[in-house]
């Protein structure tokens, strides 16, 4: 119990009569990649929202490093080390890739009520940002506006920004969304190189990516977790097969 970095206890959330999170309990251990899969509309993004703090659960608890964070606002959770990447790319389009990452680094160097020093000439900050970008093969694209990067590059930048906040847990909401085969392979490579250094909760549609990366997988159907286990266990789980086959039949 104490050795999990993130722990959800019986989370519940409804939109009107629709129960989108149905008593969800799961945990992420240090260094582990825990994937959450499920058919469309299973409530994956709603779940991520509650963990990151953009949504409030109706009931249940969220523990991060043993501390209750259920009612902390999003920015406070981010400061505590919970970094979220978005399904719909949420970069700052007018800033360069470097400025995007530098702002995330800056956010973790204390307050930003610093009015006079030109941040573009802050060598330490910009070099640190450059290193994060280099880790994600974005070094050559560092100084162009993020808005004109290719889709795959934007997905990498999204990850770079999350890494720049020195997180203890990466909350990845479909990091491969909309990327081509080649980009997906590259992102899988990047994530597996990060494996062990960060705990990750990975929500992803791409099954081959999930099975390549995850240590454990939880399957979410109609807001409830129907199975949790190793990739091997999940692959052979009758209820999981039914849920996925059922969706395809419909």
């Amino acid at each position: 119990m104490a050795d999990s970095i993130l722990r959800l206890e019986a989370l519940e959330k409804s939109y009107g009569a629709l129960l989108v999170t149905d008593r969800v309990s799961l945990d992420v251990r240090p260094g582990e990649i825990h994937a959450v899969i499920g058919p469309n509309g299973a409530g994956k993004t709603t779940l991520i929202g509650q963990i990151s703090g953009s949504l409030q659960p109706d009931a249940g608890r969220i523990l991060f490093e043993g501390r209750g964070v259920t009612h902390l606002p999003m920015h406070a959770r981010a400061r505590a080390g919970l970094a979220r990447s978005f399904q719909i790319t949420t970069i700052l389009p007018d800033f360069t890739a470097r400025q995007n990452v530098a702002l995330a680094l800056q956010a973790h160097q204390g307050h930003s009520f610093r009015f006079f020093r030109d941040v573009a000439k802050d060598e330490a900050l910009n070099e640190a940002a450059g290193r994060v970008l280099a880790d994600l093969s974005l070094a050559s694209r560092a100084d162009i506006p993020a808005g004109v990067l290719s889709h795959g590059e934007k997905r990498s930048l999204e990850l770079a920004i999350a890494l720049a906040t020195a997180p203890k847990l990466l909350l990845l909401d479909e990091p491969m969304a909309g990327t081509g085969r080649e980009e997906t392979d590259r992102l899988v490579e990047v994530l597996s190189s990060l494996k062990g250094r960060y705990a990750m909760l990975l929500v992803e549609h791409d099954m081959s990516a999930v099975f390549a990366l995850a240590d454990r997988i939880s399957v979410l159907v109609y807001g409830a977790i129907i199975a949790t286990g190793t990739p091997e266990e999940i692959r052979n789980d009758a209820r999981v097969r039914e849920a996925y086959l059922g969706e395809e039949a419909a």
Partner: protein, 319 residues
């Protein structure tokens, strides 16, 4: 590529030209012995100061304040009311202006910034109108009719501001200082947060920054700067009127910023200059000058992307 370099050069040129134009204008006006131009340029610079402060929150923070003229009025009334009570010293009236405007901005901003978009526009308008009606009801200080000042702010007992040239260059120096201050701030860590919040509030939350306090700080700073513009305006006119803070004025300030080009302080200065010059010229040509002025402004907003500055520089911005 050459084109890009050329337009960047022109972008750098604009701030220099603005400085040179306002710096040398009294000399040129002296040559042709025209005092009106100097008076008019003082007015232009005062509104440029207010426009620069609005550009800070509107252009860089996407806070469309429709009550910014309230700070001009508050600054003017602070100076006027102090003078009415026999206090003429700048070392009292300047800090008083900053405190009054800063507090008003802190309280109204703290509330307004809980809202976004059109609600923010409406709530800042409402606070602006509150200030306006309060001023019109100050019967001890002229009410609707305004308040005449029998002189100008003094500097350690000296009435040097009554000298037209000295006053001109004091206003010029304030404009340059405010311009420098705002440029420095948007290029700082603070400015990064402000501009980041304009692009995606969600992203800032996700990296651990709550933009609210930064927005509020920018709002307060902008209010204080506009207050200084108001204090200068009261001195320029030697008169304080509730009209300074009417919502028309707030609208004009927004127009100046948009006309000059959003996201640039030299644009705001160009916008204030362009707006007031055009208003002045057109109102001499015809009584119905607004019939020309209105459509012209609409055309600039629709087709002059990047405003006056964009027309000059072909889109590149610097400062």
């Amino acid at each position: 590529m050459e084109n890009a370099t050329a337009s960047l050069f022109r972008a750098r040129l604009v701030p220099g030209l603005i400085l040179a134009a306002f710096g040398l204008l009294p000399v040129l006006a002296g040559l042709i012995d025209d005092t009106f131009i100097v008076f008019f340029a003082i007015r232009v610079m005062i509104f440029a100061i207010a426009a620069v402060s609005l550009a800070l929150i509107l252009g860089f923070g996407a806070m469309v304040s429709f009550g910014h003229a309230a700070y001009i009025g508050l600054g003017a009334y602070t100076v006027g009311i102090l003078a009415e009570n026999g206090v003429w010293e700048f070392y009292v009236s300047l800090p008083a202006t900053l405190v009054v405007c800063g507090l008003f901005a802190l309280v109204t901003g703290a509330i307004s910034l809980k809202t976004r978009g059109v609600y923010f526009i409406m709530i800042t308008l409402a606070f602006g109108q509150m200030a306006y009606y309060t001023a019109t009801s100050l019967s001890a200080y002229g009410g609707d009719d305004g308040l005449t000042m029998w002189g100008r702010t003094e500097i350690f007992g000296s009435s040097m501001l009554s000298d037209r040239m000295t006053f001109y260059y004091v206003v010029f120096a304030v404009l340059v200082a405010v311009w420098w201050l705002c440029r420095t701030m948007v290029n700082s860590r603070f400015g990064r947060v402000l501009q980041g919040a304009r692009q995606s509030e969600m992203r800032l939350q996700a990296i651990g920054i709550d933009p609210y306090a930064y927005r509020l700080a920018a709002y307060v700073i902008a209010g204080m700067i506009a207050g200084v513009a108001g204090a200068l305006l009261a001195n320029a006119a030697e008169f304080v009127s509730p009209a300074y803070m009417s919502w028309h004025r707030s609208g004009e300030l927004i127009f100046m910023v948009v006309l000059g080009g959003l996201g640039s302080f030299s644009g705001a200065i160009l916008g204030a200059s362009g707006y007031l010059v055009l208003e002045e010229v057109l109102s001499h040509v015809t009584e119905n000058w607004r019939l020309i002025f209105g459509p012209f402004l609409i055309l600039v907003v629709l087709y002059g992307r990047g405003g006056l500055l964009g027309l000059i520089t072909g889109g590149k911005r610097d400062g």
